[in-house]
Assembly symmetry: C2
Homo-oligomer: 292 residues x 2
């Protein structure tokens, strides 16, 4: 298992229109005792204040795609978020941060999702523990080529909390409270870990692994279909071969033509239209955790 | 009753991140026969192309607050949308437009709403007809001081179609199809009117009239509470004295302290945080329509 995890960065507002994280961080700054844990040193910060002020995802480019080595080492970057990323990365390092928890929201129905990168044993153990105390929590492994560009990946053990469905620019009080409880559960778990609890009694885990990103059908840049109504808000539910996938503007259904059942996530995420992602297909895996 | 209504402007993208209207107008431009009606001359257009491209509500200021006489006659306006509003108003007048239908979406659960200004008898008759063919349609009378600043108010008989809940930047296929059907129903009704049908058999109407706009509790500019979870997505449902209204970030419920039951709409609309509106209270009225 990993050593003690002392220095935590709790981050909101990496995307300026994802309000849950922004207002949770503001709450924790006002009431720091809520996140005090004896073995942890927790720093809270808002990543992109200018985008938060503008209530936009970003000002010039997506901050959460600016943390690749190439950008961080490039002396000639000019975009606002490229420069901001360097400042954040420096701060994270100066604080000897062991672990970043980056708070996001999505317009898709992803409930309370924890997104990990590479299936690190510590994440699996933590995921097994968290899903056992709240079955609504889902663990998503998203090891795309872009992973090394994300804020959370500055630290090896960083992960994201992705909560939805909630519209951009909106605070949903119910989801706010659920996200707050999830943060406390995460901090409690990290504290337990530092006290020597290895969560050995948690032996298994349902893991959703992203295997493919699906774009909208397009004519050139222009989309020519929408997510099918049967699929809207059906994140983590099985999509079988032949099931409806898209609906063209003319009303024609386009079906899923794969050979096996997948479990889509990020279905119809507002910010992903520009990224060419209508949804991500995942594979549902039952992981047995071997201790020691 | 009003005279014949010949020249119709069907408008989408007045707000660039409200995708349903944008893609409906694109569809109608591709398949103009869908909106051909024998007695109508229908022009379709996208109001704010630059905001649509940017997938933002607006570039510099809310276009749908730029149609007041003051702005339209001011020679010194400098903001992008202020200038755009003048061009649109000129086009609407040059086309001798009788009626604007402005297509909007909202993050609140307003279903299929038609927003009228002043309770014009023609609107009441039209509303009575439309709600009888689809009981999901609601008629909202919103005669605020700002009404004369709206795009639809360039024409006396203009109205808005407000559809939700859908996140900004998202196409919800189900709502897209319902909005499309509503547009056809409206055009059919206008065509019937021109053929001499006065909808005399439709005698009553449930009308929701905006009576008050409610802001979030704030400390200075900063909100200090969210819409209460019990109220989220409960547009058009009764809110009784003592019912929960807001939830502070500390978890304290703030109740509705009015003397009578109201029916809130625009509950937690993303774009209204900056306008100081958490919701609009309405009064539910049963209108009896007197013919002749």
């Amino acid at each position: 298992m990993v050593e003690k995890i002392k220095n935590i960065a709790l981050v909101g507002g990496t995307h300026g229109n994802e309000m849950t994280g922004v207002y949770l961080i503001k709450k924790f700054k006002s009431y720091p005792h809520l996140i005090e844990r004896s073995s942890l040193d927790i720093k809270t910060f808002l990543a992109n204040s200018k985008a938060i002020e503008a209530k936009q995802r970003y000002i010039e480019t997506d901050l959460n795609r600016c943390f690749g080595k190439k950008n961080l080492e490039d002396g000639n970057t000019v975009l606002y978020e490229q420069i901001l990323a360097k400042n954040i990365a420096r701060k994270i390092k100066d604080n000897n941060t062991d672990l970043i928890v980056d708070l996001h929201t999505t317009t898709s129905q992803m409930g309370l999702t924890i997104i990990i990168c590479d299936g690190h044993p510590f994440h699996l153990q933590l995921g097994s523990y968290l899903t056992s105390i709240n079955p609504k929590i889902k663990i998503l492994k998203y090891s795309s080529a872009q992973e090394d560009l994300l804020l959370r990946s500055i630290t090896k053990l960083g992960f994201a909390v992705e909560v939805g469905a909630v519209a951009q620019g909106v605070l949903d009080a119910g989801l706010f409270q659920e996200t707050e409880q999830l943060v406390y559960s995460i901090l409690d778990a990290l504290d337990k870990h530092n006290q020597g609890d290895n969560f050995d009694s948690y032996k298994s885990l349902i893991l959703y692994q992203v295997i493919e990103r699906i774009d909208y059908p397009r004519d050139g840049k222009e989309i020519r279909a929408m997510v099918h109504p049967n699929l809207q808000f059906k994140d983590y539910q099985p999509l079988n071969p032949g099931d409806p996938l898209f609906l063209t503007f003319e009303g024609k259904t386009i079906s899923y033509e794969g050979d096996f059942t997948v479990y889509p996530v990020f279905i119809n995420e507002a910010a992903y239209y520009e990224k060419g992602i209508a949804m991500c297909f995942t594979e549902k895996q039952e992981i047995v955790i071997k201790n020691n």
